[in-house]
């Protein structure tokens, strides 16, 4: 049985210095948690994006909460580059740990499987590998000739946060075919999920929905947040509001603009209450 929390209470589960895992923009980002996380203010975060990051980690960077960002890309998609991220890189105020998508997946998979590392082809000869002292090149023990292969250590986040369409009263969460959300949950110590709605009937009682469910076993807490992924989209529910993302991309280009955008978000929030 997972706990049902308010967004603010959920944000308080995040402590300074934690490793925080977030999903890619199209998979179900809990944008509703962004503002509460910033208000709560737990900093020095190590944010790891599965496998790329967008608006939410960019805003956390803009708010100064992120010490390290581990990702295979930071982008606002068609709206362009991630402005706070770019500013932080230029200023040298953030540690960037560049990866490649399947390496992030491999790290989460190793955690899921309870093994210290997973291996991945590719990577050899890249500057990504050159800047990853935490990765090791080992020799494939099954090859008769030397065969170097990269070993990626398990990624075990303290907390994962994402948004999904629906949960039930037991805390089971329906993620459909967005299996990366299951990876987040399997690998993370705590998984916090916002949902559009909570239903009374168990999502495991019908084999059709059960196929797309993360069991409550992996879900620490659930909070309801209608349209909780907006302005990003939620598959099967609503598309992204690209105008709003573009407005963010534009306004957040400067520190002051970012602050003004945040204040605007505050006002919008107030207005909605």
């Amino acid at each position: 049985m997972s706990t049902v929390l308010t967004l603010d209470a959920m944000a308080r589960r995040v402590k300074p210095g934690m490793k925080l895992a977030l999903p890619v923009d199209y998979a179900g980002v809990s944008m509703a948690m962004t503002r509460p996380l910033i208000a709560h203010g737990a900093g020095r975060l190590h944010v790891v994006c599965l496998p790329t990051g967008g608006m939410q980690p960019d805003m956390l960077i803009g708010a100064g909460l992120v010490e390290t960002i581990e990702t295979s890309a930071m982008t606002l998609g068609e709206a362009g580059g991630a402005p706070c991220f770019a500013r932080a890189i230029a200023a040298g105020s953030i540690r960037i740990v560049d990866s490649t998508c399947p390496a992030v997946h491999a790290g989460f998979l190793a955690a899921q499987k309870g093994v210290p590392f997973a291996t991945l082809r590719g990577l050899i000869g890249t500057d990504i590998l050159a800047h990853r002292p935490d990765w090791k090149v080992i020799d494939n023990p099954f090859s008769e000739t030397p065969d170097p292969i990269v070993a990626i250590p398990a990624i075990r986040p303290d907390v994962a946060i994402f948004h999904a369409p629906v949960a039930d009263r037991d805390g089971n969460v329906w993620i459909g075919r967005r299996r990366e959300l299951a990876s987040l949950a399997y690998a993370s110590e705590q998984t916090l999920v916002t949902v559009e709605r909570i239903v009374d009937e168990s999502l495991l009682s019908d084999e059709r929905t059960a196929a797309g469910v993360i069991p409550a076993l992996y879900v620490e807490a659930v909070a309801v947040a209608r349209e909780g992924a907006k302005p990003l989209g939620l598959w099967g529910e609503y598309g992204p509001d690209m105008m709003e993302v573009a407005r963010y991309a534009r306004e957040a280009r400067s520190e002051a603009g970012f602050r003004a955008f945040l204040d605007g978000a505050d006002h919008a929030l107030e207005a909605a209450r």
Binding site: V24, Y26, A27, L50, P51, T52, T71, S72, A73, M74, T75, G77, E78, G81, A82, F85, A86, I89, A90, G92, R95, I96, D98, S99, T100, C101, P102, A103, H105, L109, L120, R121, G122, L123, I124, G125, T126, D127, I128, L129, H131, T145, P146, D147, P148, I149, R177, R178, R179, E180, L181, A182, S183
Partner: protein, 249 residues
């Protein structure tokens, strides 16, 4: 029939480069590669050749994956993806690509999004097509500032994939993995060997007189302007509208 548009030429060039593939994956926001793949599929059907499967990342209609965003990479690792497209903020003469930034890493002067899956897919997808419309010395450099993915690998490094061709707004190149050099194979109308040389920061091989990119034949163009444009409109409505408007102009 209206004259061949530059972007149509690129689409047709991509369809030609995809001849014989069974499954091609296309990144998000890549309408020209997607159109090329759709044209290849239409050509294969017309020729009664084996079906061409297209996976467009981020598309709903062209998403055959059900195992999250890891599945593309798994699929490539299983040898089930024959062709993929990569670009690059910088591409150098040894086909190294840079998707990370300009200047000294990590505090790069210019920072691009990042390497995405390139550091893996470039190694395991047999036919990687390097595609970059902008053909300028700031893109095509002597040596990339950061290797997101290398064009070639030393012997002993597992590598079942790599660069198959480089297609730009000015021309098309093949890549010799042994010699680690591009060779100009054709120049698009409106450009010359000299203008390409001037716009390219690295040396490349070429015939004394470079071939011009051939015009697509009428049948191919009809397929592109008919069925393919319709299919494209589902996934890239804006791009398709733009192309239609240009054709009508």
């Amino acid at each position: 029939m209206s004259p061949v548009l530059p972007r149509e030429r690129l689409i047709v060039a991509i369809a030609n480069l995809l001849d014989g593939v069974r499954h091609v994956a296309v990144g998000a926001s890549s309408p020209i590669p997607a159109a090329g793949a759709m044209l290849r599929r239409a050509l294969a059907e017309a020729a009664d050749a084996p079906r061409v499967r297209i996976s467009i990342l981020g598309s709903v209609a062209h998403n055959f994956f059900t195992n999250g965003s890891a599945e593309l990479f798994d699929c490539a690792g299983q040898g089930r993806i024959d062709a993929f497209f990569l670009g690059g903020g910088q591409i150098d003469g040894e086909a190294n690509i840079n998707l990370v930034g300009i200047g000294d890493y990590p505090q790069t002067k210019v920072r691009w999004p990042g390497s995405f899956g390139s550091a893996y897919l470039y190694f395991v997808v047999p036919r990687v097509i390097l595609f970059r419309e902008e053909h300028s010395p700031r893109v095509f450099v002597e040596k990339v500032d950061f290797v997101s993915a290398p064009g070639t690998s030393p012997e002993g490094v597992h590598r079942t994939g790599g660069p198959h061709a480089l297609l730009t707004g000015m021309g098309q190149f093949s890549f010799d993995r042994e010699r680690r050099r591009f060779r100009l194979t054709s120049v698009h109308p409106g450009h010359t060997l000299e203008s390409i040389k001037a716009a390219t920061g690295f040396a490349f091989d070429h015939d004394p007189v470079a071939a011009m990119t051939a015009d697509p034949d009428a049948r191919v163009l009809a397929l592109l302007r008919g069925r393919v444009l319709d299919e494209l409109a589902e996934t890239y409505p804006e791009f398709a509208r733009g192309l239609s408007a240009e054709l009508a102009a």
